[in-house]
Assembly symmetry: C2
Homo-oligomer: 611 residues x 2
């Protein structure tokens, strides 16, 4: 489907917004009137710029408070409307959005409203303009799509159709299934928006907290599926009022928006039968099976010796140096970590390599989601693992059977580890992400690897709330957590510092392994006594166990599914390791303990003058 985006989604001037939309690859835009009014460019100049950028001008919006008013006011509204039709001619535009009256409406009579809409459509016809009538969720008398469709049916004019906006429908928990009863050609325009479930009144919710499809809690895929079944064939547009987007580089926001339109179309394709006639109106992405296995992690570090020792204390074996490069391979059971020394920049997860059946499909899918391909040439006799950059700079690599032999370049033999595979398992990874990239990184990662989101969480830290989003693969092979970095993550001198991510390894002998690691010199993150006093009060843990756990830095949780023990190493310039042991069917991450960890890290780093 043809893709479009409303200029109100983006920061900057109208001209900056248009250039950002074109660079991202949108086919067209909606002109949000206030953006035009404050622009120094004449309508003819905007038209010419759009032509040069190869952007269509799809919708002029909004024209407010037209209908359901006394005749005298309606006449003056028609004059106001005609002025906009004349402006649209200068812009070369032929479609205008008329939201249902939320301000001046005083007449609830459907016959009068339909008649006023018809008269507006007659005026539009004289200018070769079409009107898309949209039911606002907070419209005075008209606030459901079905009501707007009934009015359009009654008005019965070829220049009048409806606009469907997923926010206005899904925010009211309205049922989108009757969309299929509306002829596709009478749906003149579609705006897609998602939103997190904030329990707010619809108006402030809509004005400040919309997000791109797939980034919120609405079932935008079901909405898209119904639309397609109705025979709607585009354009598919985004109208997202979001306070953060308004403060973000428009190039970033536009790229994120186009990705979400690709994702929602592909997801809706998955809902439609293969032989569905409408299915091919939806733009396809290369399909891959859900990814279930992280092949290896690459950690960039300016402290390779310390990192190697840290991994060593936790049971990792140094496999060897890359035959040509400075990278080193460490391995524990099936967990492989490549350590890449860098001159500076701290220590952080630089790339995640996942196992796929065909890396070409995976790269194509990631590219369709807007990810640039990574150029990393190899010599003729080396294995090349193809990869892409995610929105926040994380590198994703895709290992298939053509590249699975890469560890031999580190001198690994085929049966590298003598330890049983289950003794160390990659439990989850935790990746920090800046606010501007958070939603986009989450959507890109889940869409590229086909992960499922859990409920979002907020955790208190001494420097503010940390927002957290966990993604899991369908069979649980991958657990990937994004943490949104607090605004003021700086050291005491006010300089920005790297907010730490972590790698969590699951073991089945946490206490013994912790004891052994401490004996070989590992510093675990110290956890305060008060925490253990509370554990005793909450769970009836005995004094001896609490003391033993405190000596080992072990935190604890229990629920109906089982038990969870875990500890954290101290942070090495932006990365720490968590060891976890899950007992029974425990699936969670120890809620409450993350706040304890954040405070303990703050204190530890203050004492070591790192922050």
């Amino acid at each position: 489907m043809k893709t479009s985006i409303a200029t109100v989604c983006l920061s900057g001037t109208l001209e900056e917004k248009m250039r950002a939309c074109a660079r991202a690859g949108f086919d067209g835009i909606e002109i949000f009137e206030p953006d035009l009014i404050v622009s120094p460019s004449s309508p003819a100049e905007i038209k010419a710029l759009a032509d040069r950028l190869d952007l269509t001008l799809d919708l002029y919006q909004p024209f407010r408070d037209l209908e359901g008013v006394p005749e005298e006011l309606f006449t003056s509204n028609l004059a106001r409307l005609e002025a906009k039709f004349q402006l649209m001619q200068e812009l070369g535009m032929d479609l205008i959005l008329v939201p249902s009256n939320a301000g001046t409406a005083t007449i609830a009579d459907d016959t009068i409203i339909a008649d006023q809409l018809r008269r507006a459509a007659e005026l539009a016809q004289q200018y070769n303009v079409r009107i898309a009538y949209e039911a606002l969720a907070w419209g005075r008398f008209v606030n459901t799509y079905w009501h707007s469709w009934q009015l359009v049916t009654e008005a019965n004019h070829p220049n009048l159709g409806i606009c469907l906006d997923s926010f206005h429908i899904l925010s009211r928990r309205d049922d989108p299934s009757r969309i299929t009863e509306i002829p596709g050609e009478k749906i003149f325009f579609v705006q897609l928006a998602d939103a997190p479930d904030l329990g707010m009144d619809v108006l402030p919710w809509s004005r400040h907290h919309r997000v791109f499809p797939g980034e919120g809690s609405f079932d935008t895929v079901a909405f898209m599926t119904r639309l397609t079944e109705a025979g709607y064939a585009g354009p598919l547009s985004l109208e997202i009022f979001n306070d953060v987007f308004r403060e973000t580089d428009p190039g970033i926001t536009a790229a994120d928006g186009l990705r979400s339109l690709r994702w929602v179309q592909q997801s809706a394709r998955g809902q439609l039968p293969e032989n569905s006639a409408q299915r091919d109106t939806l733009t396809a992405m290369p399909k891959i099976d859900p990814v279930e296995t992280i092949d290896h992690l690459e950690v960039s570090t300016d402290s390779p010796d310390e990192l190697g020792a840290l991994l060593g204390t936790l049971g990792f074996r140094f496999v060897g140096q890359h035959r040509r490069k400075s990278a080193q391979l460490f391995e524990a059971a099936n967990v492989k970590i490549v350590v890449s020394p860098m001159a500076s920049g701290g220590t952080y997860i630089a790339s995640v390599a996942v196992q796929v059946s065909d890396s070409r499909d995976a790269v194509s899918r990631a590219e369709a989601l807007g990810a640039p391909r990574i150029s990393r040439p190899v010599t003729a006799d080396e294995v090349r693992i193809p990869g892409v950059y995610g929105p926040g700079g994380m590198q994703f690599f895709f290992v298939d059977e053509r590249s699975s032999g890469w560890p031999t370049e580190f001198g690994a033999t085929v049966a590298a580890s003598s330890a049983p595979a289950h003794t160390v398992v990659l439990d989850h990874i935790n990746v920090p992400e800046a606010r501007d990239h958070f939603g986009a990184s989450v959507l890109f990662t889940l869409a590229t690897l086909r992960l499922e989101p859990l409920d979002a969480q907020s955790v208190a830290s001494p420097r503010g709330l940390v927002h957290s989003q966990a993604l899991e693969s369908p069979s649980g092979g991958i657990r990937w957590i994004f943490n949104q970095v607090p605004k003021m993550y700086t050291n005491r001198a006010g300089e920005p510092v790297r907010y730490p991510g972590h790698i969590a390894l699951a073991v089945n002998d946490l206490e013994e392994r912790a004891q052994a690691a401490i004996e070989t010199g590992l510093t675990v993150l110290p956890i305060p006594s008060n925490y253990y006093a509370d554990l005793q009060a909450r769970f009836g843990i005995d004094e001896a166990t609490a003391t033993r756990w405190q000596d080992l830095g072990i935190l604890y949780d229990r629920n109906d599914d089982g038990e969870f023990l875990h500890l954290y190493t101290e942070t090495l310039g932006g990365l720490f390791i968590e060891l976890v042991q899950r007992r029974g069917a425990y699936q969670d991450y120890g809620p409450g303990n993350a706040a304890v960890r954040l405070a303990a890290q703050e204190l530890h780093e203050q004492q070591h003058r790192l922050l």
Copy 2:
């Protein structure tokens, strides 16, 4: 009244929070349990630190999900509670908060709930602890203060009373008037919190968006008045869950909190009859009449020559240089602006001097609101105007009859201006404020000068939403607008730049004055043609008028009260001047036009390479 604050209000570690509360001048604190659990200090160390800081430990909180549960669970809850009583003994604390059960309650029977509360109180008695039972707005069975009071009455135990939290009562639009029926001594604790009207579900609203009393939309003064009438005599505490406070320096937040407690007590005093017995339990502030007149503004500038010329084009007369200092006085009718040359720092309103009947009362009041006094010595034969620093660094000076002769130091004669006083009037000032200081600056300004807040607004700019709060004096003599500076107010190189404030002058001959100013070289902010096309469509303005206004940079608004014409000068390093003309009884500021101005400024400054 004794003042207190919950540690959850503040960022940092528990020890940092305690030091911040002591510095701000609180008498005591509530220990928020998660803060203690993550602290490395033992309970005895916390007690000793509190003693040294002269802070009382007023309330241990919260103990969740105690009552309304089956007997087996209640027994285990009592064991959990007893562990906390033992901990409180180590802390030397005697009051614990038990919010109504919101998680595990399954028994709605008041007799059983009251019985469980009584048994908890009996256990508390053994430890010399008292229980303050609080109805959470989202409690499962108990969610109104009256219900909690009925249960406490039924339980009838000296160690059981209630805690009243204004948020839980006012967020549900519950009527606080029955508080006066509760004996003051059975109100064991009071938490004050305000909140803006966000139309959200109470739980997320409470957890993220509480603000200090006076900074939101609740009538916390009426609440405070009812409390006092009930005979409650303290402590008066703050429990504010706020995402911004969590990211702000705790010293700033604590000072802001204490100010709000001083304000709310003074305001409640004003509601009680002079002869009320309870009135004196409320801490008084020095009282002043509402301030209605800005005596003069002081503008600091690193471009004094340009600023002087700008004022000159707008009809200001250069009165003279200060006899000793580099400051210059400009005057137009009754509007006086002192220009203070500085080596660097741009141009901005550095101080506002207001007319009061006695500056000593005004300074005392400002000091009671936490403002430090300004040290600005003068020579023996000069007039000294006393003043204070506001929370965001703005200086407030108070002119009374002892200091009203200050202009003579600039060589002014008594009858300085020959122009009629009404030809130029100070219409309003607009002061930018950083997010961390925004709420505090608003509250300090309105409490110090006794201004009234209008509804808050948000205006779209190319760099994000600008939040705006207007304050007005009762008779309209002062209009003061705060704008919250968008996060990313930087130039193209990413360096922070001064977000502009402005001074708005009302004239009765805007077009003529604009024409004259332009002829003497003034550059007005250019407003795009598209704006005037829209004016024609919206208001039926004729082409000739629109063209004339565009040449003069004049914007327009009209409503039922009258008309509003205004223009902006170009910005001089952080300050611009607005000229306004109000026709009829127009009281507003031209809604919609601020967005046009922000976009026009962005463009103008981009073209002049200032941003």
